[in-house]
């Protein structure tokens, strides 16, 4: 009562005091208004608030009375003046055994300051002023506090006023500020070095320049994903010009290399989650996805201005509907896993696409994980749910389609002749169905016979009538389609009014195996529809229009006759993320927190929403887009970004270590026409990039830069999985250097290649390698990327899966990597190819041919010449291996022609077996095999295996 009274008194004072005179408030009331109320709202009310069903432990934190009463534990949540007896306080300290730690998630623990506020609030009497009084207090103290507590931010508004009015720590809002142009420090020629120097911890030295060998190797891997060729290396080492000048030329050559685009595309595809299949139950192939992959390669190769690159990926079809390039570019919007089977609710599948694309656009271009605002206003960042659905409304008219888009002259169409294997498969499935059809026909006859015999006398006439109809209608059905005549007859008989129970069941008399075979063939034909699309002039694309109604999508979707026909849906806030909920209507919009810098006008017509949105994204005043890209490019060179999370510039992502540098680069990026190549030049010609990996004072480095944020030394990195595989192929001379084209299938472990994989109702087909070596030995970027089968080597060396955007690769060392690189057939094959190459590169009459072959291997693999003692050691090993090898090697290049499949047939729950024919293997041409070379070269193969496994090869310094 006393408390209540005091609160009333406070209110009274205010009334008398009017606005001009400061009211005197209790310290406790001030604490509550300023800290405790917002704290409860942010950290507690989700589980201790209005929603009775969600309320945990019966505790309600919405009024003093309720808090004092406490929850199920029956101990008061708050005992005024006594924090030590208040369960709420005891729970947040997380050290009290009597109460479970709150909030439950450890990562959301209250800070020491917050706990202190709670303590003080209770100790000063736990005042709980009314809303009105709180408002008055805020009116009086708001300015003063906001200065101390953080700032308000203008957005489109949250689902609640408290969210809309909350304060933010300005530190976490850095990314929304316009680019700050600061004076470039004049200490260095390259502004990058100037900015880094200015931020260098006092007392910290920087590492000396890297050696020329290190530098060219580093740069070549960074820009092409391949090692420098020995002649390039020699030329650079022998270039008499100062290193800076000579290196400048190297960078220019590399930027012009046809492999530059491939390397950058790999980075980009990590971010967009590229895959050649759609995931989930069917994992259907996306036959046209490769054209988007190649679009990305072309864009980087041609240094397409980044803003244009962004716009095309969001709205290429709207910007240039007649240009195949525009239709292909929007393949970006299709990168998420997606399918619609008859087992799924169409609305849910549609919402999944919308959610995927909304988040993907946010992460990729704006470094905002928008999905955090899907169910509720963003917990930490000024991103309201309203923005999430406004941005989603931009895509509300975006429809999926595999769309006609003529092949460009620049698109590589090598390997299209492999379509013949698909045709053979198709033929095989059709024949299988044909056989099953005759089984059904035969079984139908038997079925009638047994039914007639078993039927009760009164039913017999019906069966006989059914049989008569059957015989009559069968002939017609057979004329219309050989392999489906049984089903057609069945349907026709029933159409005549014969009840289902009087016609043969749809799989009459099938054995489990026949049931299985029918599923396999039917499914196989369905899957082939998607695979044939590889060779057709279609693009994985979108169009703008109303949302069509599908029940299921089991074949590539083509453009509808009339795209405007279905009504354009209105966009509601899907309250709580429920696809069926209809909250407020929203209009297409943008991220409102930066709208004041970059106003947007998105039309509500079906067409043009994405175009307008893309223009907003790439507006030069948009503070996010340029920062996001230069941050990525920086990471591609230094292994770590300037701002800690390239996909998350919000307050929970890492703050920029060098904000001035980041802004400088972002501004320069735009000034130079959004040229990515220009950004590489700037970065790579900096002293920081050219530094050695060896620091002269490791102790000082550890002391002054424990987090490794100063870029005072270059950090070595392990080759990525793709670089490793591609480099090995380049070194052995087997690499097919053609750029782009349909996905390739290298040989992989048989266990994986033939591993049966369930898809809805049946199996996916086996992984069958391309028959010709040059088709198999393409760059890893081109390997068919199925969501359901990972390439074992790429997987083990940390190539990300296609489920989520990968902002930065992991490179942990795990034992399966050693098993792969040291034991796999692939490693043995490559080593033998290298041995053969090195051996045949040397004049066969040379009297020190062995030594010269080894020197060749040193320069190819390690980019250097050996020391004398190294050469001696390796020569000795070679001889020892050779002595232990048998004179003859056994041939080892055979491939299976069939794959045995065993599965549980779901109609019967019984196992059945069948053989899948691996057509392409019938023409398989193996790589060089041990029995193709003599023992001397075979032994050299083992030496090569060792070289390809060395740390010196797999790390870049």
């Amino acid at each position: 009562m006393l408390l209540f009274h005091r609160t009333i008194l406070g209110f009274g004072l205010l009334v008398f005091a009017g606005v001009a005179v400061s009211a005197e408030y209790d310290e406790s009331a001030l604490l509550f208004t300023r800290h405790i109320a917002p704290l409860f709202r942010e950290k507690c009310l989700a589980c201790h608030g209005e929603d009775v069903e969600a309320r945990e432990g019966g505790l309600d934190l919405r009024s003093l009375q309720a808090v004092t009463d406490g929850g199920d534990s029956e101990s008061p949540g708050v005992v005024p003046m006594h924090p030590e007896h208040s369960s709420v306080y005891r729970a947040v300290t997380r050290t009290d055994d009597a109460f479970s730690a709150m909030p439950p998630k450890e990562s959301e623990s209250l800070t020491r300051r917050e706990i202190g506020w709670l303590h003080d609030w209770i100790a000063t009497g736990a005042e709980w002023p009314t809303e009105k009084i709180q408002e008055a207090i805020r009116a009086e103290y708001g300015n003063k506090w906001s200065h101390e507590d953080g700032i308000r931010v203008q957005t489109s508004g949250g689902l609640s006023d408290s969210w809309t009015n909350r304060n933010y720590d300005p530190k976490g809002l850095w990314a929304y500020q316009p680019l700050q142009e600061s004076t470039v420090p004049d200490s260095h020629e390259n502004p990058i070095d100037g900015f880094l120097q200015a931020a260098l911890p006092k007392g910290l030295q920087v590492a000396p320049p890297a050696s020329r060998r290190e530098l060219i190797r580093r740069a070549t891997f960074d820009l092409t994903g391949l090692p420098p060729k020995p002649e390039k290396m020699k030329a650079f080492l022998n270039d008499n010009r100062p290193v800076k000048e000579a290196f400048h030329d190297i960078v220019e050559q590399l930027l012009a290399s046809p492999h530059y685009g491939e390397r950058m595309a790999q980075h980009w595809l990590d971010v967009v989650r590229y895959a050649d299949s759609s995931g989930f139950a069917n994992d259907f192939e996306r036959g046209n996805a490769w054209r988007y992959r190649d679009y990305v390669i072309r864009a980087f190769q041609n240094d397409k201005p980044y803003d244009q690159f962004v716009r095309e990926q969001i709205a290429g079809d709207e910007i240039s509907p007649d240009d195949p390039e525009g239709l292909i570019a929007v393949g970006f919007l299709r990168q998420g896993p997606w399918e619609l089977t008859s087992m799924e609710v169409p609305r849910v599948a549609r919402q999944r696409f919308l959610d995927d694309v909304t988040n993907s656009v946010g992460e990729t271009f704006l470094a905002h994980s928008l999905q955090c605002a899907k169910c509720h206003d963003h917990k930490f960042d000024p991103v309201p749910t309203r923005d999430y659905y406004s941005i989603q409304a931009v895509f509300n008219t975006t429809q999926l389609v595999e769309r006609q888009a003529d092949f460009l002259a620049s698109e590589n169409r090598d390997g299209f002749d492999e379509e013949r294997f698909l045709k053979k498969m198709e033929q095989g499935y059709r024949e299988s169905l044909q056989k099953l059809e005759s089984v059904l026909q035969k079984n139908a006859v038997a079925w009638y016979a047994s039914q007639v015999e078993q039927a009760l006398p009164e039913r017999r006439p019906q069966i006989l009538e059914s049989e008569r109809q059957w015989k009559k209608l069968r002939a017609k059905a057979k004329k219309n389609g050989k392999s489906t005549a049984f089903q057609k007859t069945r349907a026709a008989v029933m159409k005549q009014g014969v009840p289902q129970s009087d016609v043969p069941p749809s799989r009459v008399g099938f054995t489990p195996r026949q049931n299985g075979m029918q599923r396999v063939a039917t499914k196989g034909l369905q899957r082939l529809k998607w695979e044939f699309d590889r060779y057709k002039p279609f693009a994985l694309s979108v169009y703008s229009g109303g949302t069509p109604t599908y029940e299921k999508v089991l074949a590539p979707l083509r453009m509808p006759q009339d795209s405007a026909k279905p009504v354009v849906e209105k966009m509601h806030i899907r309250t709580g993320g429920d696809p069926f909920a209809e909250g407020d209507l929203v209009k297409p919009g943008v991220l409102s927190v930066i709208e004041k810098h970059v106003p947007a006008a998105i039309p509500e017509t079906p067409d043009g929403r994405r175009k307008a949105f893309a223009e907003w994204v790439t507006d030069s005043k948009n503070p996010l887009v340029s920062r996001v890209m230069v941050n990525r490019i920086w990471q591609w060179h230094f292994g770590k970004p300037l701002a800690g999370n390239p996909n998350n510039f919000g307050s929970t992502g890492g703050l920029p270590t060098h904000p001035k540098l980041l802004d400088h680069l972002a501004a320069e990026f735009m000034k130079n026409g959004w040229s990515v190549k220009d950004m590489h030049r700037k970065i790579m010609l900096s002293e920081a990039y050219c530094r050695s990996c060896a620091h002269p004072d490791p102790a000082g480095l550890a002391e002054f830069d424990p987090e490794g944020r100063a870029f005072a030394v270059f950090e070595p990195r392990r080759l990525s999985a793709e670089e490793m595989r591609d480099s090995v192929l380049a070194i052995t001379g087997e690499l097919n250097e053609r750029v782009g084209g349909v996905p390739c299938r290298p040989e992989i472990n048989e266990e994986v290649a033939l591993q049966p994989r369930q898809v809805m109702g049946a199996f996916a087909s086996a992984w069958v390698p391309n028959p010709q070596p040059e088709q198999r030995h393409r760059r890893s970027l081109y390997i068919l990327k199925l969501r359901g089968v990972r390439h074992p080597m790429l997987e083990v060396f940390n190539t990300p899966a296609s489920d989520f955007s990968c902002e930065r690769r992991e490179s942990s060392t795990v034992t399966p990597q050693a098993l792969n690189l040291f034991n796999s057939k692939n490693s043995y094959d490559r080593s033998l190819a290298l041995a053969q190459r090195a051996w045949s590169d040397i004049d066969k009459d040379a009297d020190n041919r062995d030594e010269l072959a080894l020197r060749r291997i040193y320069e190819l693999v390690l980019c250097r010449q050996p020391e004398h003692h190294e050469l001696e050691q390796v020569l000795q090993s070679w001889r020892a291996v050779e002595a232990a090898l048998p004179r003859e090697a056994r041939p080892d290049g055979s491939v299976p022609l069939t794959a045995s499949r065993e599965a549980v047939e779901e109609l019967s729950g019984e196992r059945f077996m069948y053989d899948e024919i691996l057509y392409a293997n019938q023409e398989f041409k193996p790589d060089l095999q041990p029995n193709d070379v003599d023992r001397h070269v075979r032994a050299l193969g083992d030496i090569c295996l060792v070289f390809l496994n060395t740390n010196e090869f797999v790390y870049v310094y």
Binding site: S107, P505, G654, P716, L819, N823, A903
Partner: protein
């Protein structure tokens, strides 16, 4: 931003001590046993009985109605038309649908009187060791998404699997074996390998699938014809070259870990085949699991191997059994499935018990969802059932679970859970709790957020705990 540091230091530990991952399979190697790397044993959050978990996954969605949750009401409703309303219908549900009675008869077993379909001839022996849970619900009506949710907590795949979380939380008990082993079916389930992925957790916590065909672990041995001596001599040259290289790069601490990973790999080649060899088991044991009988051999071997692995300290073993998606002919199909798992599972529980391992081993049996009381009836004979995310039966055994009790209930047709109804996230949180882990503490910073198995937190289902 304290969590940023934590994350970066995680990377650091990761890269410098990586070689202990996949865990050194070298028996008695003290360095590995004393490892302080990411897989070192970690203290539990909450005291717990369960140290290990064997997760028996029946893919396709076993029917609760035809196994452990009898619905006599369906006998009366049999072949009466069934209707479902609402916009949440999928195309699967088109056409007329009918209630379908269970083709199986049920009896109660043990002191607890738990009902089981009569074809569970073996499992019924251990009825009192089981804790049935009938209150679980999932979000997805489709296999891959439901499988992802069961395994990883998220319907869309890509998140770490339960086994990866447990290994991350507890480390490996025995540094000589991997922490998380998967024994897959001959064919991968829908959704494939992401069902046992490590997601955003570092690769140390990835599953080691032991393949049923070919090499149990990829590239465990070199190509045929390469002798151990030849390999050793190659390895010696590699070691020497790597050591010389390391001498030139003293500041590069990953080099030592990578060098060591080769030595571990070499020793694994000889250790793994022993670790998974069943031949030292007695004939009696083999017989009890049904090894050697065609219907039970495959699953019997896997259950026996699971026991062996747990006995050796493997933290989490997931065993797959496929083919439970009985849309038609459920009598035949489910009978066959039950026959293939019944004896092996009963043997596993009895065997664990006999070795005093059941107390510390949590055994879980479940599918990705249950099945519906209705079906489209094909030709009046092919009685089957469709998917049902609103009701299923899961059972637990051992590991501190509430043996001899049935928790939760479904409505009279088995259409939906109505008592002790919990989202699968609560089930996940409960499993973690049984293993001594607190879902709210078992978090990992990724993409700007601390993530957890339950996605956004869940409730422990106290009734499932003894």
């Amino acid at each position: 931003m304290p969590h940023i540091n934590r994350r970066e230091s995680m990377f650091r530990i990761g890269t410098s001590l990586g070689s202990v991952a996949f865990a050194s399979l070298l028996a008695g190697d003290t360095r590995a046993t004393e490892s302080v790397g990411p897989l070192a044993p970690k203290p539990v959050h909450i005291p717990a009985k369960a140290k290990n978990c064997i997760f028996l996954t029946m893919t396709g969605g076993p029917s609760h109605i035809d196994t452990f949750d009898p619905k006599p009401a369906l006998n009366k409703l049999h072949l009466q038309e069934f209707t479902r309303s609402g916009e949440t219908k999928s195309a699967m549900e088109s056409g007329k649908r009918y209630y379908v009675q269970s083709p199986f008869s049920f009896h109660q077993h043990g002191d607890s009187g738990a009902p089981m379909a009569d074809n569970w001839q073996h499992l019924s022996r251990v009825a009192d060791d089981l804790c049935f849970f009938r209150g679980c619900q999932v979000d997805s009506v489709n296999h891959p998404t439901a499988m992802y949710q069961l395994n990883c907590g998220n319907r869309f795949g890509g998140d770490p699997a339960l086994g990866a979380w447990v290994t991350y939380g507890l480390g490996t008990e025995n540094a000589n074996l991997p922490g998380y082993v998967v024994l897959p079916e001959v064919s991968d389930p829908q959704g494939g390998a992401p069902n046992w992925g490590n997601g955003y957790l570092p690769a140390f916590y990835q599953a080691t699938p032991l393949r049923p065909m070919g090499s149990p672990i990829l590239n465990l041995s070199p190509p045929p014809g390469v002798t151990a001596n030849r390999q050793r001599s190659n390895l010696d040259l590699l070691k020497s070259m790597n050591e010389q290289h390391a001498g030139l790069h003293p500041q590069h601490d990953e080099l030592a870990a990578r060098l060591e990973s080769y030595e571990l790999a070499f020793r694994m080649q000889s250790e793994i085949p022993d670790a998974i060899n069943l031949s030292e088991e007695s004939q009696q044991t083999l017989d009890s699991y049904g090894v050697g009988q065609s219907t039970t051999d495959a699953f019997g071997r896997k259950c026996l191997l699971a026991r062996k692995l747990v006995e050796k300290g493997v933290r989490f073993v997931q065993v797959y059994n496929g083919g439970w998606d009985s849309h038609d002919y459920i009598e035949r199909a489910h009978s066959n499935r039950v026959r293939s798992v019944d004896q092996p599972i009963a043997a596993l529980i009895e065997d664990l018990k006999a070795r005093n391992l059941l107390e510390s081993t949590l055994v879980v049996w479940c599918g990705e969802f249950g099945r519906s009381p209705d079906n489209g009836v094909r030709g009046g004979v092919a009685y089957g059932r469709d998917h049902n995310p609103d009701a299923m039966t899961i059972w637990l055994a051992g590991g501190g679970s509430n043996a001899g009790h049935t928790i939760g209930a479904t409505d009279e047709t088995g259409m939906t859970a109505v008592e002790d109804v919990h989202h699968v996230r609560d089930f996940h949180v409960t499993l973690l709790r049984l293993l001594g882990l607190d879902d709210n503490k078992l978090t990992y910073y990724h993409a700007g957020r601390f993530k957890q198995l339950s996605q956004f937190g869940g409730k422990v289902i106290d009734k499932l705990i003894a």
